[in-house]
C-alpha cells in the first residue's frame, strides 16, 4: 500500500514537474509565445471557455459520437471475436491482416464512407470504430484463448449449456482482457474521431481545434488540446485502475 502510494506520488510529482518546467520555459520566453503558451494560461483559457459554455456543443457532439462508436466497436468486435475464435482456420488467415491493419490511415476512406452512409455523422462514427473493432477482436480472441481448459471442463461437469457456459464461465474469465479491449476501443475512438473532426467535420472538439489552429488562435487551440488530453487521460486512468484491480484480484500468488 505504501509502495503504491509512493508510486502514485512520484508519478504526480513527475507530471507536475513537467508542467512546471513547461511553465518556466514559456514564462522565460525560451520558446516563442506565439507557438507555445504556458500551461497556466491554457488552463485559465479553458476554464473560461467551459464556464461560458461556448464549447458545450462541440463537447456534446464529440462525446456522443465517441460513445456511439465505442459501444458499437465493443459489440461488433466482441461478436466477431467470438465467431473468429470458433473458426481457427479463418483466424490463421486473419492474423497478419489484423496486425497490419493499424498502418492504414483509415480516414482516407472517408469518401467511401460518405458514399455508403451518407453525409452525416455516421462516417465519423465508422472512423471512430475503425481501429476499435480490430482491437476488440484481438482482445476477445486473447481473452477466449486464456480461458483455462479446466474451467471449460468444470462447466461441463456441472452440465451447463452453451449459453450458461458463455455467461457464467467464459465471459467472467475473459473479462480483464475484454476490458483491455474496451480501453483500447475508447482510446482509438477518441483518436479516430478527433482526427476525423480535425480534417473533415464542421463541429466537434477536433474541428474546434483545427479551426483555432487555422485561425492562429493559439490560446483556444491549446486550451482545447489540454481539455482533450485531460479527458482522455482521465478516462484512460479510470479504466486502467479498474483493470488493475480486476487483474490484481485474480493474479495468482
Amino acid at each position: 500500500m505504501t509502495r503504491e502510494r509512493a508510486v502514485t506520488l512520484t508519478r504526480i510529482a513527475w507530471i507536475a514537474g513537467f508542467v512546471v518546467l513547461l511553465e518556466a520555459v514559456c514564462r522565460l520566453h525560451l520558446v516563442n509565445p506565439l507557438t507555445l503558451i504556458p500551461p497556466s494560461e491554457m488552463a485559465t483559457t479553458l476554464w473560461g471557455m467551459l464556464a461560458s459554455g461556448e464549447i458545450a456543443g462541440d463537447i456534446a457532439r464529440t462525446f456522443s459520437t465517441v460513445a456511439i462508436a465505442v459501444v458499437l466497436a465493443v459489440a461488433i468486435g466482441f461478436t466477431l471475436g467470438v465467431a473468429i475464435h470458433a473458426l481457427p482456420r479463418v483466424r490463421q488467415g486473419l492474423d497478419p491482416l489484423l496486425a497490419s491493419y493499424y498502418s492504414i490511415p483509415t480516414f482516407v476512406f472517408y469518401p467511401l464512407f460518405v458514399a455508403i452512409f451518407g453525409l452525416n455523422s455516421v462516417p465519423l462514427i465508422v472512423l471512430g470504430m475503425a481501429f476499435g473493432v480490430p482491437a476488440m477482436i484481438l482482445a476477445t480472441l486473447n481473452g477466449l484463448d486464456r480461458v483455462p481448459r479446466v474451467l471449460m471442463r468444470t462447466a461441463r461437469s456441472y452440465r451447463l449449456g452453451r449459453l450458461a457456459t458463455l455467461a457464467h464461465v467464459v465471459m467472467p474469465s475473459a473479462l480483464p482482457y475484454l476490458l483491455t479491449g474496451v480501453k483500447l476501443a475508447l482510446a482509438y475512438a477518441f483518436i479516430g474521431i478527433i482526427a476525423g473532426e480535425f480534417i473533415l467535420a464542421d463541429a466537434g472538439l477536433g474541428h474546434a481545434i483545427a479551426y483555432a489552429y487555422d485561425g492562429f488562435e493559439n490560446r483556444t487551440m491549446y486550451a482545447l488540446m489540454l481539455f482533450v488530453l485531460v479527458v482522455v487521460t482521465g478516462l484512460n486512468m479510470t479504466l486502467h485502475a479498474w483493470e488493475g484491480r480486476l487483474m490484481r484480484r485474480r493474479a495468482r500468488a
Binding site: V150, Y158, R159, P172, L175, R249, R250
Partner: protein, 276 residues
C-alpha cells in the same frame, strides 16, 4: 443395479459380494493413432475408496474422462448406477488436477456455484455452503478471492464446490498435486473423514504411492500406455483410519508392493531400460 459375486479378478471386483456403482467394460480410448487407454474393465463398488496409480502418461486422466462422461470411449461401455453414461451424469462430481476455482468469485460464491446453477433454494444453499466451508477449514476465508489463498486452499475450495452438490460418485484427478507431501497426507485425512461421513464412492487418481496406500480400500495399478490394470491391491484397512497409518509396518508393505509393480513400468514411461 448389478450385484455380482467374484474374487479379485481382471475386472477388479473385491472378494465379497457388493453393489456395483459404476462399471467400465472393454473400454478403449485412442487419440488419433495413439492408443491411450485399455481395453480395460473396472467395477467400482458402492461406497468404496478406489485409487488409481500408474506411470505418467499411462492414461489415468483419460480413464477419468471416460468414466465421468466428459469423454467418450472408442470402444466398450460405461455405466453409472446401471444406466449408460453420455455426458456427465447427475450424481457425479469431479475435482480436477489443475486449480479450477473461479478467480472472479469469492470462496463462498465459488462453493455455491453448482447449487445456484441447479436452482437450489437460497436458504438451502447457504446452509450447505456454510457446512462445506467449515468442513474444509475455509470458514474464515468465505469472503476472500482465490488469488488470496494458497494453492492447497484453492484446491480445498474446488473440493468443497464439488461436495456441496452431494455427488454419489466423486472422481478426483490428482487433487493434491500442487501440495507438498506432508500437506497432502493431512488433506488425505480430511478426504477420508468426508468419505466416511457421506458414504459416497470415491475414485482417486494419484501419483503418490503412499497417498494411495494410506487412503484406499483398493488400489488399481496401471501399466504404461495404453493403460490397463496390472493388478488391483487390496489394503484391508478399517473404515476408521488416518495418516498415522504411514508409521505402521503393514503400510510399508503395501507401498513396497505398489513400487515393485511400478518400477519397471515407470522406467518404460521415461524411456529408459533400467537403472544400471
Amino acid at each position: 443395479m448389478a450385484v455380482v459375486a467374484l474374487s479379485a479378478d481382471p475386472r477388479g471386483m473385491p472378494a465379497q459380494t457388493r453393489e456395483v456403482h459404476a462399471a467400465l467394460r472393454g473400454v478403449t480410448r485412442v487419440y488419433g493413432r495413439l492408443a491411450a487407454l485399455g481395453p480395460l474393465d473396472l467395477d467400482l463398488v458402492k461406497g468404496e475408496f478406489f485409487s488409481v496409480v500408474g506411470p505418467s502418461g499411462c492414461g489415468k486422466s483419460t480413464l477419468l474422462d471416460v468414466l465421468s462422461g466428459l469423454g467418450r470411449p472408442n470402444a466398450g461401455s460405461v455405466t453409472f448406477e446401471g444406466a449408460p453414461v453420455a455426458g456427465v451424469p447427475d450424481g457425479v462430481g469431479i475435482v480436477f488436477q489443475e486449480d479450477a476455482s473461479f478467480p472472479w468469485l469469492t470462496v463462498a460464491d465459488n462453493v455455491a456455484f453448482g447449487l445456484r446453477r441447479a436452482g437450489t433454494d437460497p436458504a438451502e444453499i447457504a446452509r450447505r455452503v456454510d457446512y462445506a466451508l467449515g468442513f474444509m477449514g475455509l470458514t474464515d476465508f468465505a469472503g476472500a478471492y482465490p488469488a488470496q489463498l494458497s494453492g492447497g486452499m484453492r484446491q480445498r475450495v474446488c473440493i468443497a464446490r464439488t461436495l456441496v452438490t452431494q455427488p454419489r460418485l466423486i472422481l478426483l484427478d490428482e487433487p493434491f498435486g500442487a501440495l507438498d507431501q506432508q500437506t497432502r497426507l493431512l488433506m488425505g485425512d480430511e478426504l477420508l473423514r468426508l468419505w466416511r461421513e457421506t458414504g459416497a464412492t470415491v475414485l482417486l487418481i494419484t501419483h503418490a504411492l503412499d497417498e494411495a496406500a494410506m487412503l484406499s480400500d483398493r488400489i488399481g495399478v496401471m501399466s504404461s500406455r495404453p493403460g490397463r490394470f496390472i493388478e488391483i491391491v487390496e489394503t484391508g484397512w478399517p473404515r476408521e483410519r488416518d495418516s498415522r497409518i504411514v508409521a505402521e509396518e503393514r503400510f510399508g508393505h503395501v507401498t513396497a508392493r505398489l513400487w515393485s509393480h511400478l518400477r519397471e513400468e515407470s522406467l518404460k514411461a521415461i524411456g529408459k531400460k533400467s537403472v544400471p
